[in-house]
Amino acid sequence: MASKVNKTINEINEKIKKGKAVVVTAEEIIDIVRKKGRQKAAREVDVVTTGTFSPMCSSGAFINFGHTVPTMKAAKVWLNNVPAYAGIAAVDIYIGATEPAADDPLNKVYPGEFRYGGGHVIQDLVAGKVVKLRAEAYGTDCYPRKDLEKDVTINDFPSAILCNPRNAYQNYNCAINLSDKTIYTYMGPLKPRAGNANYATSGQLSPLLNDPYFKTVGIGTKIFLGGAQGFIVWPGTQHNPSVPRTKKGVPRRPSGALFVVGDLKKMSPKWLVGVSILGYGCSLAVGLGVPIPILNEEIIRYVAISDEEIYTQIVDYGYDYPNGITKSYGEVNYKELKSGSIIFNGQKIPTVPLSSYKKAKEIAQILKEWILEGKFLLTEPQQLLPSA
């Protein structure tokens, strides 16, 4: 069915510049479409903002820590005793969010606490804190220096770039544990015999659940990332659009993902938070929000999605997940998950969110304000993400 409303990103940007664009959050649009219908809503609303705030393991930062005298080609580098990858160039490193401190006891005393890791280093850097940089090298004719130890802050770095290969997963499992002992997973603590069910997306506010076929989101889309403006630069690793979907096109299990980049120096410790996941490891909670331009009635249909229309699978992390068994113990929607309990095998079990809906809402709101104030213009993607 042809859409009666058709807008371009350029036209929307012209409205933003004039202060005339209508911007609402992915939560607010639900009622607007219910009351006004798709066509009217598509005509009136120009942009819908989304948001998510959750630990996102596949995150990290490229840092160039600047040349020293004498010069050095760092081979091994630590930031606050957390190893960074140095096999790049003389003073370029990558600090990964899940890297624990070199002397962390890990899971030797189970469940390990993982108090400090790469995610914490990133948060400390964006907070402007002093971080201890230590480097070792084998020495060359052009780079003779063999060791370095100094206190640095993010301002000392010529560049610091947040570069997350997989963020903002489009839907995620609902985790339970069918074994008879408590387990500690990246999905949080799971009590035995399905004692709790943990879930991890912001549902109706989640960026990719509002654009299930990537009709607007692609390479070059400007986004909210860690409190600053960032970009989608590629499909995330493990991006997999070929999954079962609902009638409205929403994936019923984990599918798409985003590879995102942004200037770490402009970000905020409020939106990049180092986390310690008991028994599992360190990570980084990332705040991310994507603006969805309402180009036509098809797009308005996608963004109007509400929690009760988004389904995910109940997966056992006690035996199935570690053994690579893909088995679903049933489907639940996010309205049920958010209510605080679900019925599983006739039993009422409590549900536990790992993703902060409160912060997701705040992000969608901030992004909305940026656009309304004309501080944030939409970008035309150079290529859309693979949708099949």
Binding site: P189, N198, P353, L354, Y357, K358
Partner: protein, 141 residues
Amino acid sequence: MYSKIIALRFPKEIVDKPIVVNLVKKFDLTFNILKATIFPRKEGILVMELRGHRKNFNKGIEYLRSLGISISITGQDVRRNQEKCYHCGTCTAVCPTGALYIIRPDMEVMFDSERCSACEMCVAVCPARAMEVSLDKVHVL
């Protein structure tokens, strides 16, 4: 009916004496033990919910103090760092007393220190390490 979760610290001299039972016999109070530990050098810690008439409750506390037991309200022991908490809700998976709970539909995580039994399960589970154990036991009844 008055009820509070309290933490008792027993000096080693009295750790082997029957004391808590007297709260029932002498003061008509009921209790629910939430945690009990005796340390290597024999100092004991007991966390319990004590319940009864307010007058009896105070008499019971007086009795315990007269034996050299120090008493603190456990809600003072575990605190939430508001700056660090990002309201995910992970802690609600392990909190046994419902002191940590989510208000809906706002999905905001609340902490009711009155209901906290100071089991400290939330401390290690909180991804942002926002739940802190305070070493300051100044708040003595």
